[in-house]
């Protein structure tokens, strides 16, 4: 029987997710044998038309990484959706919008003005901005439309499975791929990662005091963090409690606190909101002034709580629906 057709595709990503696929090293050879990799721009030639020519659902699995920021990405996403039985949102950008999703804190105009006008190195006497279509001495050059905001993949198409992480770690990539190959997939809509929060597997979890309270917020550069002790217990913002486990504590291992690339814990809609609730509750403050003092030590709440997931936050979904 024919090998299952699999497509791997990036949208607005950084290539790290493709690297992550390659990071399964030897295993990739086995996978390459088991499936018919019909579409992997980073690795393969492909004919765009050949995909359009396929029957709906002819592709068994499309692994899509990256978010959607322009018309081109939107179109690929929709095409692959139509041709694929399963779509796997691969990596934080596809699952929640990713770091570039923070761009939703600003506007397209603001970005253009800086990049093409205000940046110190810019030389742009005629104030030219990139156009979707330009005539260069009689020759028409086109560019895709740059949208006003970043979208997570499931804002654009329906997604069957999610594999979060920036990027997803090899062991989960392998697990996900074999799950598909062996047809051992959980119900649609599932996230192919553990259900609990990072603390569950964090070696520092046992180091916490019985009642953890924060009296001072410390920023990562301000202290020499104790590599054995819970970051929050040291007053260092760590997203671990509000972030899905599965990364293998990559950052914790190098003595850096979690920033939430695995997104919300199973069943939590908006990890940012939940994190604010949780963090506020362990602030040990004595007065209103104290609340202000301590909370203001948290320099950038949105940047911590939504480092990887702004476009899929409750409030962003709103604008997505509009």
């Amino acid at each position: 029987m024919a090998k299952p057709k699999v497509a791997i595709c990036w949208l607005g990503g950084c290539g790290g997710c493709d690297e992550a696929v390659v990071d399964i090293n030897e295993v990739i050879l086995g996978v390459a044998n088991a499936v018919d990799l019909i579409f992997w721009p980073v690795a393969l030639d492909f004919k765009y038309d050949s995909i359009k020519a396929m029957n709906d659902g002819e592709i068994v699995l499309s692994i899509i990484n990256g978010n959607v920021r322009n018309s081109e990405q939107e179109e690929v996403a929709k095409l692959l959706r139509e041709k694929s039985q399963l779509v796997l949102a691969f990596g934080a950008c596809a699952c929640f919008g990713g770091t570039p999703g923070l761009a939703n804190l600003t506007t397209k105009d603001d970005i253009f003005n800086w990049v093409y006008r205000d940046a110190p190195t810019v030389v742009n006497p005629d104030g030219k901005y990139p156009q979707t279509s330009t005539d260069v001495n009689g020759k028409k050059l086109t560019l895709p439309e740059f949208y006003n905001r970043v979208y997570a993949l499931n804002d654009i198409i329906s997604v069957d499975y999610y594999l979060p992480g920036c990027p997803p770690p090899p062991h989960l990539v392998i697990a996900a791929i074999s799950a598909v190959l062996e047809g051992k997939l959980p119900p649609r809509g599932s996230t192919l990662a553990p259900h609990r929060a990072l603390c569950d597997s964090c070696k520092r979890n046992k180091s916490k005091p019985e009642r953890m309270a924060i009296r001072e917020i410390k920023r990562i550069h301000e202290v020499e963090a104790d590599p054995e002790v819970c970051f929050l217990a040291q007053g260092i913002i760590c997203l671990g409690p509000a972030t899905r486990d599965g990364c293998g504590e990559a950052c914790i291992n190098i003595n850096m606190p979690c920033r939430g690339c695995f997104g919300p814990v199973e069943g939590v809609e908006d990890s940012g909101a939940k994190f604010v609730s949780a963090l506020a509750s362990i602030l040990d403050v004595q007065s209103d002034d104290d609340i202000a003092r301590l909370a203001d030590q948290i320099l950038d709440p949105v940047g911590y709580a939504y480092r990887f997931a702004l476009p899929s936050s409750i409030l962003q979904k709103k604008t997505a629906k509009e």
Binding site: Y129, P130, V136, H221
Partner: protein, 487 residues
Amino acid sequence: MAEKITINPITRLEGHGKIEIFLDDKGNVEDAYWQVVELRGFERFCLGRPVEELPRIMPNICGVCPTPHNMASVKALDDLYGVEPTPTAKLIRQLQYNAFMVEDHLLHFFILSSPDFVLGPGANPAERNILGVIAKVGLEIGGKVIEARKRCREIIRYIASKPPHPEGGLPGGVSRGVTEEDRKWIRETADFTVEFCQFSLELFKQIVLDNKEYLNLILNDAYKLNTYYMGMVDENNRVNFYEGKCRVVNPKGEEYALFDYHDYVDYIGEWVEPWTYVRLTHLRKIGWNGLNDGEATSLYRVGPLARLNAAESMLTPLAQKEYEIMFDTLGGKPSHHTLAYHWARLIEALQAAEHMQRIANDPLLTSKDIRNMNLRLNKVGIGCVEAARGTLIHHYEADADGRTTKVNLIVATQHNAAPICLSVKKAAMGFIKGPEVKEGLLNMAEMAFRAYDPCLACATHALPGRMPLIVNIRDRNGSLIRTVQRT
């Protein structure tokens, strides 16, 4: 017209790219454009973020060369906080950095370039890939390539967590130190890579230099571009990836400028064209003179060949030998031969490997003194490193709370953007005659552009590793006569 929205999966970094080639009546190439079609706006959405978080955000610019972004960012923080990293911290950072250079360069060479040389530019594309290379030079090489990548990335993981998204690095130091017991496997990895880089250079020489046809190809005018070159050098004008001053040499090879990267704004300008999202850098003092490599050109190139042109020697002995051999063979400095980037890349890989080896044996490596906590927040911080693909500059400003107020980034592929356009055009003109385009010729055009490894290419660090390319060929009215793809 559906073709207009055909996805052109070429570039990474600031996203995708495509090449448009325009023919004149005779069907000869009149014009060619390489377009970067994506933009993400890191320079804006980083505003308001705590500045110390930037080294954890910037690697998302590129998951293929994230370590340079991480490192440039950390160095910008050292600068912003007016702090010198401890000697040990500096060693650890450079260990991570060189490990990255080795894996990135080697993989680019084997998976991307070697097929063209080992098998020949005109070889059947179906075999013209890493598998073909393995078939020809032996299976164990494929294994070694994967092994080299794996082992180098282990070092990165150890120091800075996820290799595609390093999260380490703090102003004045690193977040994690190296232990004595770990020094052992790190040293073994370094030794292994030095060996493998030497082997690779030998392979390159046998296959390419001992083959007139290939040598001529390298020296072919279609692959020649007379530009300035920029690269970072130490106080002895030796190639240095991690620190030093920026040295620019003119097309004749004479020093045009030797500047502290803090002054980059005086030297580097970014030209805006409406047909591409990438800003085209050029030498500001000369001024934008368009896409040309004539006398008046203000274009400069960066990356392996550029670095070697801009420097006077290599940092490490073995690499130095290779450096001399290369310029002798290519007829002196500077070399304008774009394909020589591949050779230069291997020589740099060797330097990186040797440097790793030196660090792995440095007694200071395992000291506990990995942070300099004596931080004094300044207003501005600028960091610069030599990324695999060329000079990378991160420029931050922050308010009194250390909140980011300004970000300006100049990334390698930007420096090369204009030259790439030019090279592609030249190569196209050189090889594509008439609308009947042979795949081999097309590949030759592509080779011009691939030589820069414009980051998108390193995305092909993957099996079976074939460079995808879509070229739209249009008549003088601009209507598309055909889209050529290698199949």
